[in-house]
């Protein structure tokens, strides 16, 4: 490292003081836990320094840092054997992206996910470090944007138009305010203008007013959001409710076939700690779709906003109108009402990895008819293999058939679906139990099927390509 130094030096024993210190460092590199600098690329200047070294510890009354883009005023800096003991730092228009990319991203002890963190905008503020701890911080944010992606360039979270006045005191509760214009989660869930008023200290933070976060065309109402910083990992407790969001918008955003309906929910308590999220037993998310209802409860999640989220929930279905469901997915018309449950649905990275599902039609459904095409598709799914055989018999004269009950159960474990139907049959089980004349029964014999195959077939069916005759 090489530097140009100009100063007035006074020496006394092993103490020295420097005044009017001006240093320019234009060569060399620095790698430390939180700072990396390449002075070849970017020379830096320290100006007007007043320093005193007493033989053991350094005290800096003041010194100004300037590298052309970033100006920082250091005052009352003290170090001791444990490192930085005291500091007053003021900054005006501190360019955040520049600071991050130039000095922090390549430092040794910052989290590796920082490489995928982006921030834009400038901040003004002042901080005070005393007794090795951050004692006070005041910051004005104006139109900041930030984002975190995973290492495959997929945005986990984006926030735009972040404004606010942050006031922090280690020992005394102070109030702050933050707002953003727009945000996006997982590139899929849009949030719009939100304003939060909160207070706290080093022990933790809490909302001073309920918070409403607009989501799609609905709203997430947060009545309580407590962040406890007294434990080793921050613990967050959250109470809220989801005011109806239109399913049409959600399915569009997900690129799914468009479904009509609504999602709403009561979230009496959610605890987030150590990357894991757990919804209180009384919490229920309700999805109204196909004139029926899905209820999600006992929701647990881990690392939701990461490259590998894990989610588990119980699902109950009531009164799903099969006619509406089958027409949305081009499955072939079936009329009737479907009930069911999916216990412990486990999603790894949003893909089902395990569950215990059971679906059955309601015997009291007003209309219970099933079309030829649906029979073919169900047969194919169950691996029955008589698909197409129907059309070769006199049955082809009938467009649809009455049924008594239809249903399917599947227990997914390690890529294999253990299957069952609505009633036992000789050596197998009924997927469709017929009714009246002409009567059609679909009986399956495969007890175990490969899950990937089922999904592939479902995808083919909903894409409209006919079932493959096996």
């Amino acid at each position: 490292m090489s530097a140009q130094v100009k100063t007035r030096l006074s020496l006394f024993d092993n103490q020295f003081s420097l005044s009017h210190l001006n240093v320019k460092i234009s060569d060399g590199q620095l790698l430390s836990p939180y700072v990396y600098a390449d002075f070849n690329q970017l020379p830096v200047n320290f100006k007007n320094g007043e320093l005193f070294f007493d033989g053991q510890n350094l005290s800096v009354k003041q010194i100004n840092f300037d590298d052309g883009q970033l100006q920082l005023a250091f005052k009352e800096l003290l170090t001791d054997s444990q490192g930085l003991k005291q500091l007053v730092l003021e900054f005006d228009k501190m360019p955040l992206q520049y600071l991050l990319k130039t000095y922090i991203s390549n430092a040794a002890s910052v989290p590796s996910s920082l490489a995928y963190f982006d921030i834009d905008g400038a901040v003004k503020g002042k901080l005070l470090i005393k007794q090795h701890n951050l004692q006070q911080l005041a910051m004005d944010l104006d139109n900041i944007s930030l984002s975190q992606s995973d290492n495959q360039q997929r945005m986990l979270i984006e926030i735009y138009g972040l404004d606010g006045q942050l006031v922090f005191d280690r020992n005394q509760i102070q109030s702050s305010q933050l707002s953003f214009e727009q945000a996006n989660l997982l590139e899929t869930i849009p949030l719009s203008r939100t304003k939060a008023n909160f207070a706290g200290s080093a022990k933790g933070f809490y909302l001073t007013e309920p918070l409403g976060v607009p989501v799609f065309d609905g709203k997430l109402g947060i009545s309580k959001l407590d962040i406890d910083l007294s434990t080793e990992q921050p613990k967050v407790v959250f109470n809220g409710a989801l005011f109806p969001v239109s399913l049409e918008l959600v399915t569009q955003a997900l690129g799914w076939p468009v479904m009509q309906g609504q999602i709403s929910g009561l979230i009496p308590s959610v605890v987030y700690h150590n990357g894991a999220l757990q919804m209180d037993a009384n919490g229920v998310l309700q999805v109204r779709a196909f004139d029926g209802e899905l209820r999600l409860s006992d929701l647990q999640a881990s690392h939701l906003l990461s490259a590998y989220p894990i989610l588990q929930t119980d699902v109950e279905l009531h009164g799903i109108d099969l006619e509406k469901l089958t027409s949305t997915f081009s499955f072939g018309k079936i009329t009737g009402l479907l009930n069911g449950e999916i216990k412990k649905l486990l999603l790894y990275n949003w893909k089902p990895a395990a569950f215990k599902a059971d679906f059955k039609t309601d015997i009291d459904s007003p209309s219970r008819r099933i079309s030829q095409r649906a029979v073919d598709n169900i047969s194919n799914l169950g691996g029955v293999g008589m698909a197409g055989a129907l059309s070769r018999t006199f049955m082809r004269f009938f467009e649809d058939f009455g049924y008594e009950q239809l249903g399917l159960s599947c227990e997914l474990k390690k890529g294999v679906c253990k299957m069952d139907g609505v009633a036992p049959a000789e050596n197998g089980y009924y997927l469709v139990k017929g009714r009246g004349l002409p009567r059609i029964d679909v009986i399956a014999y495969n007890r175990e099927t490969d899950w990937d195959q089922i999904v592939s077939k479902l995808a083919d069916i909903s894409k409209g390509s006919g079932p493959v005759v096996q």
Partner: protein, 199 residues
Amino acid sequence: MKLTKHLNRLLTLILLMIVSACVTINVYFPASEAGNAAEEFVEDIINKDRVEAPKDSSLSPLTFRQQLFAWNVQLISGAHAAAPDFNIDTPEIHRIKASMQQRHEELDRFYAAGAIGFGNSGLVAWRDKNAVSLKDRGRLTQLVNAENADRNKLYKAIANANGHPEWEKQVRDIFDEKWIKKAPVGWWYQNAGGNWKQK
């Protein structure tokens, strides 16, 4: 009478000794099953990109939207083949594995350059800081710290998944062996004595 009583006592004592001898349970660490599971895990991390199936464009990085509906794309292989008596099939372990696989893409060239290697406690260790520019050294330090944090979590999670938290050390040792075994030619590792060897 007295003799019978003593005899009874003696018989009871002998019976107790026999019974307790039969009831003594030694739970041995299933080294062979653990070894197979560990080797497959390590293989999936190190050689994921080397032994590449023909690149199917429909499988290249999915957006979240695609992923939410592309249920038939298997991200984690080996879920079916896990040894029946040794469990490495929990959500937490899958998550750690995915994290390690992604990080490995960045670490790969540093192993090849000899800057880092497999240390002798199942962790990644620095071998030669000078093999890396100062700029890369900061990033590599971050990655090594993150990788070792994952490995420590992994060994603990595997021991817990099998109901024996005290197996952590044995799990670590087995993995240590398998990292070295599966390391490609040219990579470095530390032997039991702490000396660096090249494969």
